[in-house]
């Protein structure tokens, strides 16, 4: 059975159909590239899966569980994490604190144990800090660990988001344009990083990216959207030669 099943999802904003009967599946361990021109509905899909938007119709199941029955903060409990296209970091905290909040779901200390600094809270805090450090090391961000998240370059912030998603041992990670703001060399190493992370952490990756070379390089499956509709789905080498896909990207001639 597929890990993530999106079936017949439609999203309507006023008169605009942002997603129209979208269905696809994502197998465990796969890297799926979701591509399409601007405004095709890629980020909308992310927002549906992470329960920020309510779809007008359809269903989303993850590992057999109905995601649409959960609210936004419960999604992380089943192991679904994401990054944001325009960043959703917390600039008032340091980088390492940002990453520590990343594992909010799997940590336990509450207001009382925190206020009294009970031993359970202190050991959890120490462990959390160590794991956050390890996640930062893995992404290569030790240097900025104690900086405030505000005021760092865009590319660094994107990587902080990656580290923040990684600390929680996610099963599915949704990356929203991770390569935006990076140089060509950085994009290449990011592609390798994503593959490496997937192998080391047994991740399943749903990737939205405009950088075609990178998407085609690492995706094992492609889903192409245009105006909220799926126009192609399958092996990258097949999909890239699909006439409808070429037309969507190049315009009809």
């Amino acid at each position: 059975m597929a890990l993530l099943e999106v079936s017949d999802i439609s999203v309507q904003f006023g008169g605009i159909r942002a997603l129209d009967d979208l269905s696809f599946t994502l197998e465990e361990g796969q890297i799926l590239g979701l591509i399409g021109p601007n405004g095709a509905g890629k980020t909308t899909l992310f927002n549906v899966v992470s329960r920020i938007y309510d779809p007008t119709a359809g269903s989303v199941t993850f590992d057999g569980k109905d995601l649409l029955a959960m609210s936004a903060h419960q999604i992380s409990r089943v192991g679904v994490y994401r990054t944001f296209q325009n960043l959703a970091l917390w600039p008032g905290m340091t980088v390492i604190e940002n990453v520590m909040v990343g594992d909010h779901t799997n940590t336990k200390s509450n207001v009382i144990s925190a206020a009294l600094r009970l031993p359970s809270m202190r050991s959890e805090e120490k462990d959390l800090r160590n794991r956050a450090w390890a996640a930062l090391e893995e992404i290569g961000l030790e240097e900025v660990a104690f900086h405030p998240a505000a005021g760092l370059p865009f590319g660094t912030l994107k990587r902080i988001e990656l580290a923040r998603a990684l600390i929680a041992n996610p099963r599915l990670i949704m990356l929203d344009e991770p390569a935006s703001g990076l140089t060509h060399a950085e994009v290449d190493s990011l592609a390798q990083d994503i593959k490496g992370l997937r192998d080391r952490h047994n991740l399943t990756v749903l990737l939205v990216e405009h950088h075609m070379k990178m998407v085609l390089g690492i995706s094992e499956k492609l889903v192409v959207l245009n105006f909220g509709r799926k126009i192609a789905d399958g092996d990258p080498d097949v999909v890239r030669n699909d006439p409808e896909v070429i037309e969507a990207y190049l315009g009809s001639s």
């Binding site: 903060h73 999604i75 992380s76 909040v101 990343g102 779901t105 509450n110 207001v111 925190a114 206020a115």
Partner: protein, 475 residues
């Protein structure tokens, strides 16, 4: 000075020494208040500290959670009336009333917060303003026995015997009289200290970080598992409980509670204290309370004749001055006093965090006696500057002018920032001198001055201790 004078590792010996000096100054300040000041002045200090707790409560919601709660005067009022009623009418012990009062505030916070926090933006501001406006009239209602409990428009007095438990009589400044202002001061300091400790722990931990995350980016927080309505509501309820606690302290301080004390204007005072102290900082709440009381006191003494019209601070215009200060701070110092102080402190000392493997995250550059001479010069200047600023601050305090007064306030508190660093420099110099390894690279004059500077601060401290000793032993 672009790079900080001193870079120390967090938790290292030098960082600790620096912190101890800070604590020492703070402790001497806390100890001297009930001994040196007149009872009347202690009363004002008490009021300031009570406001500090209330401002801390507002800060939890506004500063740390980014929600606009503008009606904490009502929570204070509830706390004050519940305290008065329990202690005076039901003969409860004062300390027994405390947890009940906090719980009442907490539950009220949930009742108000649950609907108001569901929606974003200004609706919470709207509800809390309504709550603050309604409260003073609510206590005057004759029905349901409310006015009988609260004393209605006449207010409710609490006798000194019941408000003040008897086991603090040995503390400095307390001359045996239960309920005297020095006595109340110690009760207030005790509650304030514990509250500050608990709140600091709360904010700097998992639940506190979730609160901050909501302030900084709600969508991000939700995706990472923060239950927005629950965290917001619990935080708001804690804040309401603290506001209620501040009401209990108010009752302890004044021994009298009345509805007209807890109007919207009190809520605005809290906001002003918050902004001037520093939104979203723990120290700011403390300073804000002091500032509000002190400016209130200062404006009362100001009269400026402007031809036909005389600007008289002892009247309605005091509020206008507050309004003006609020606008000026919003425009020119949105971080409040704390951010101003921090920008000074950042030039003096930098505390480097420690990596999990135990090494500092950046190079530590402490002021070994080997530090090069231009930095030694800077340290010297700093060491001399501190006491000078303090003295000027004391002198300016007596000038009846708002702006000069504000500068004086800043100068007096500047010692809290400059003194510990200068003391650290001085003590290191002393150690090197005693060990006989004072290197030649430092100009003799510079190290001499640093010693003198250190001694200057010691003098301030010893003078205070001497005052303390003479006053205490004369009783």
């Amino acid at each position: 000075m672009s790079s900080p004078l001193v870079v120390v590792a967090k938790g290292g010996a030098e960082h600790k020494r620096w912190q101890y000096v800070q604590y020492l100054y703070l402790a001497s300040f806390v100890l001297l208040v009930p001994v040196v000041l007149q009872p009347f002045e202690i009363g004002k200090m008490n009021r300031a500290l009570v406001l500090s707790v209330a401002i801390l409560a507002v800060n939890l919601v506004v500063g740390f959670n980014g929600m606009l709660a503008l009606g904490h005067s009502a929570f204070m009022g509830v706390g004050a009336f519940v305290t008065a009623s329990l202690v005076q009418d039901e003969n409860w012990d004062f300390w027994m009333a405390l947890p009940v009062v906090v719980m009442v505030g907490f539950v009220l916070g949930i009742l108000v917060g649950l609907p108001a926090l569901r929606v974003k933006g200004l609706y919470l501001a709207l509800i809390t303003i309504a709550q603050a406006t309604v409260f003073p009239t609510l206590v005057n209602i004759d029905e349901l026995g409310i006015a009988k409990r609260t004393g209605g428009p006449n207010g409710k007095g609490v006798s000194e015997e019941v408000i003040a438990p008897s086991y603090f009589e040995w503390l400095p400044g307390v001359d045996g009289a239960r309920g005297g202002s020095a006595y109340r001061y110690w009760c207030i300091i005790l509650i304030l200290g514990i509250t500050l400790l608990l709140v600091t722990n709360y904010i700097r931990s998992r639940p506190g970080r979730a609160v901050l995350a909501i302030r900084d980016n709600e969508a991000g927080a939700a995706v990472y598992g923060v239950n927005l309505p629950v965290v917001k509501t619990v935080n708001f309820a804690i804040s309401a409980g603290l506001g209620s606690l501040a009401g209990l302290m108010w009752c302890l301080d004044k021994g009298f509670v009345a509805g007209q004390d807890f109007t919207f204007l009190l809520a605005v005072d809290l906001i002003i204290g918050l902004v001037i102290g520093g939104v979203g900082t723990l120290q700011g709440s403390l300073l804000g309370g002091l500032f509000v009381v002190w400016v209130n006191d200062l404006t009362k003494r100001i009269t400026i004749p402007l031809g036909l019209y005389t600007l008289n601070g002892d009247g309605p215009l005091a509020k206008a001055i507050f309004g003006l200060i609020l606008i000026l701070f919003t425009f020119f110092a949105p971080g409040g006093i704390v951010s101003l102080a921090k920008s000074v402190q950042n030039k003096l000392i930098k505390v480097v965090p420690i990596r999990p493997d135990g090494t500092p995250a950046e190079d530590v550059d402490s002021f070994d006696p080997g530090m090069e001479s231009d930095r030694a010069q800077s340290a010297m200047k700093l060491a001399i500057l501190g006491p000078v600023l303090l003295t000027i601050g004391w002198l300016l305090m007596n000038v009846n002018n708002l702006i000069v007064g504000c500068v004086a306030f800043g100068l007096r508190f500047s010692i809290l920032v400059t003194a510990p660093v200068a003391m650290l420099v001085g003590s290191n110099e002393l150690k090197a001198l005693l060990a006989g390894r004072r290197p030649e690279s430092i100009k003799a004059q510079a190290s001499m001055a640093r010693l003198l500077g250190g001694l200057g601060f010691l003098f301030v401290l010893l003078y205070g201790l001497w005052l303390f000793k003479t006053q205490y032993s004369s009783r």
